[in-house]
Symmetry: C2
Subunit: 365 residues, 2 copies
């Protein structure tokens, strides 16, 4: 059961916890659409299975699967993964799933944002997106969590919170005219605070170079803990990512959070430019209205796009020259967690990474 609420989380004393706070579980959605995932999504399904398996070592995992793929998913996923039927348009639960909020007194609820497939008719990634927009409510029914239907278009991957009043996001995404063109920056800030239980917004400028999400913050930067931000980084001045990351560092280092703290910025190396190979562009259905897959296009690869599970960091293996260095920084940053790398290039080909395909359920109720 999940009641539709007409108040706001902040008014009801709820807040979104930091991802680093304990979880009671994690949701994913099984990939299947053949116009985004090559070869009938079989390689992507193998990658998602690896991610789910790695997270399940830390916390209960639920995989949402269409009726058509249900038997196959149930058969290939480990038995400890719960499989439930939910119809979706693609497999990015970070963005179209609910954002959970808690009150520290036994209450856990969900925010169901409006979803328009990363830009609707102005550069959105597919059409239609109605099943994705309806999926959060279904997740909340299974979780038994009441639902706030937020009045703005927002993807979960376009925000990060420290759980103590601070939210970070990029102007490129949240102020993009393809999301909420009728709202001012101040109105968007106010709405976020109402639905996340935050008070202080720190705006970064742009997300990772050529990110088809219009610059989601979760591919650029994330909170390791309150006051500490991991930022994707390159020393290569010839890489267009250089100025994006430098600007983000400058903004973070000049800002303070809701508690008045300065930010410590931990630089996580970018894997450098990764391009779609010719064979990686093959096996994808051609459908008008979805992003074409072209050899030579740059992928928005970033180690920041990891899932911060209760006892584990599940991070994407992206490039042999940088994977070890990224793992080492993650181990230093999260000394109490096991750091597990999963081959993630197949997920990256679909347009995101491990953080984009996961959604945590807070442990505190």
């Amino acid at each position: 059961m999940s009641r539709l609420l007409t108040t706001t989380p902040a008014a009801d004393g709820f807040r979104m916890p930091g991802e680093f706070e304990p979880h009671s579980g994690c949701w994913l959605v099984w990939p299947e659409r053949p116009d985004n995932w090559r070869w009938g999504a079989k390689p992507a399904q193998a990658a998602y299975t690896e991610v789910a398996t790695a997270i399940a070592r830390s916390e209960p995992v639920t995989m949402a699967v269409s009726d058509v793929q249900f038997e196959h998913a149930r058969t290939v996923l480990p038995p400890e993964v719960r499989v439930v039927e939910i119809s979706t348009d693609d497999a990015w639960i970070r963005d179209m799933g609910p954002t959970f909020v808690v009150d520290g007194k036994g209450g856990r609820r969900g925010v169901d944002w409006r979803f328009n497939a990363w830009g609707g008719l102005l550069g959105g990634l597919y059409f239609p997106w109605d099943r994705d927009d309806r999926a959060a409510a279904k997740v909340l029914e299974v979780e038994g969590a009441d639902r706030y239907r937020a009045p703005i278009v927002l993807e979960g991957g376009s925000i990060h919170v420290d759980g103590e009043g601070t939210v970070i996001a990029t102007e490129e995404c949240l102020l993009n005219p393809n999301r909420n063109p009728e709202l001012s920056r101040e109105e968007i800030e106010r709405t976020l605070h109402e639905y996340l239980g935050t008070e202080k917004m720190v705006w970064l400028s742009r997300g990772v170079f050529d990110d088809e999400t219009d610059g989601h913050v979760d591919n650029l930067a994330c909170f390791a803990e309150p006051g500490k931000v991991l930022l994707t980084w390159t020393e290569d001045e010839g890489d267009p990512q250089y100025e994006i990351s430098a600007d983000a560092a400058r903004r973070l280092e000049a800002a303070t959070d809701a508690r008045g703290r300065s930010f410590e910025v931990v630089r996580l190396p970018s894997p450098g430019p990764i391009e779609i190979a010719a064979d990686e562009a093959a096996g994808v259905d051609a459908v008008e209205g979805t992003l074409p897959r072209r050899p030579g296009d740059r992928l928005a690869a970033s180690y920041v796009n990891f899932f911060l599970a209760t006892n584990t960091i599940v991070f994407p293996l992206l490039d042999e020259r940088h994977d070890d260095e990224a793992a080492e920084i993650l181990r230093t940053t999260f000394p109490t967690r096991e750091v597990v790398g999963v081959a993630a290039r197949e997920i990256l080909l679909g347009g995101g990474n491990i953080h984009c395909i996961t959604q945590q359920v807070p442990g505190e109720r």
Copy 2:
């Protein structure tokens, strides 16, 4: 999560409890197919909503709903009913859902019978039935109950147990060549005992007259408690139901149960012949392969087809001349339960009644 088991309930120390034992909840499936439910299933949805609402006063109710009807069902059902997406072919979870078994030591599992839509290609009620056959596994995932896949075709409504070793069923249904033609009566008995944890089978001959399920026992007779059976009854010797009920009474009164007890047979009056009215046959899609709806056809109406909830009896109102008498007998039979009548003619038009559209989850684990 739900693991597929390759043993049997009996071998693992599990048994199906009687329906009169405490429940932890009840499942239903939202009706929608327009070739079975008139006027786009809107009248049937109203009736199912009444049934769900009545049961929810006693125990948690979950409604399984297709993606297409999800929003509507969520909106019209009371907020305390949990709504989850599950694709089905129709709305009879008694027959295609799981049969739960328990071990009295914290274990609760499900039996997933093979399902062929009440007869497959030999008089089955629709084609295809693959989504119905896959639904039990999905229910068990949500319930977190491991799954036995039984090797026989069986509908949950074709058996009743007393929870103490006895199972009753009709020969008309279980020995029908459209279910398990390759199995002898003894093989069917043995398989039932293995999957229900029973030891003694009491065979009745035929089910209610003109019942399109091929004579499900749950429309004819049920256990009120161990040793006590409610039987649909008519004193009208001109009604073909007369000889069916008389034969069932004779067989029951001559038999003993697994514990060696004789049966007390409580006669519940039949509402008498109820026929499909002309306006009740209208508004149904004509589709080859589904049962046509013809004015004047007799409906298999029976007060025995009630749901035995933990604190409530939800029984079908069928005929003003008999409803009060049926209610009175139910009150006497179940003195600790509230007896609630729900207008059920619309469900009857679809081919069954309240017991057929419900499936209890035992409270004992």
